[in-house]
Subunit: 109 residues, 2 copies
DNA sequence: AAAACAATATCTACAATGTAGAGGAAATTA
DNA sequence: TAATTTCCTCTACATTGTAGATATTGTTTT
């Protein structure tokens, strides 16, 4: 089926963050980790838009958590990288590899 | 002055390719090297559009070569990464670093 | 139970980047 | 000067990036 599309860079970051977060990946935790990884802030709107798109493409799946919050608030939506998401990421990594090596060797430091 | 914008991934690849090509960076050589690096074809239109945009942003500069061709044809347009281009790339590399390391550690192989 | 509050997600819009392909320019050669 | 070759320009549209305002859904307060 797949068109073997390539992931955008931000998409890759998002996927990675979710992978790292494991069970606790939802909006604000993702956003937080992302900020650390990327080194700058990410607005909530930017994040959710990307999350939705990745889910639409089948690279992520989500489930609404139970509303067991302690201090009120809407239920969290937990995300998880699908198998398809993993392979997409794996492919990206391939291409990234040459970029990374190139940049590393090519002075720039 | 700078808005400190981030480079797109394809833009990074293009910049790197030009850096690697040195004196001989023009349309078709860039396209060729890019194909190797990225692992898939890049249409000529896609390439020039990006080249132009990078130049407009001051990350690249170009000069038309002398028409000393051997078998006819229009003069080549040679590209070169500016100092500004180098630093932009350097900044991108920073962010890429965490992505690359994350992907490397996070199994996926 | 209504009002205020808190935590989270959805929607809408627009900007930037990615991607293609048809077509135009300039030089060489027949 | 017409044909051929090599290369670049233009136009258009798709995808991804980014933001902010707003809606939902619980809890706590009054």
């Amino acid at each position: 089926m797949s068109k073997e599309k390539f992931l955008g860079e931000f998409e890759q970051f998002v996927l990675l963050a979710i992978l790292k977060l494991g069970e606790s990946a939802y909006g604000s935790t993702i956003r937080q980790l992302l900020a650390e990884i990327i080194g700058r802030d990410v607005t909530i709107g930017a994040l959710y838009t990307t999350l939705d798109r990745l889910e639409a493409k089948g690279l992520l799946e989500s489930k609404i958590g139970e509303a067991t919050a302690e201090r009120g608030g809407r239920a969290k939506k937990y995300f998880k990288v699908t198998a398809q998401g993993q392979s997409a990421l794996k492919r990206s990594k391939q291409a990234l590899s040459s970029l990374w090596q190139g940049l590393t060797l090519k002075v720039l430091d």
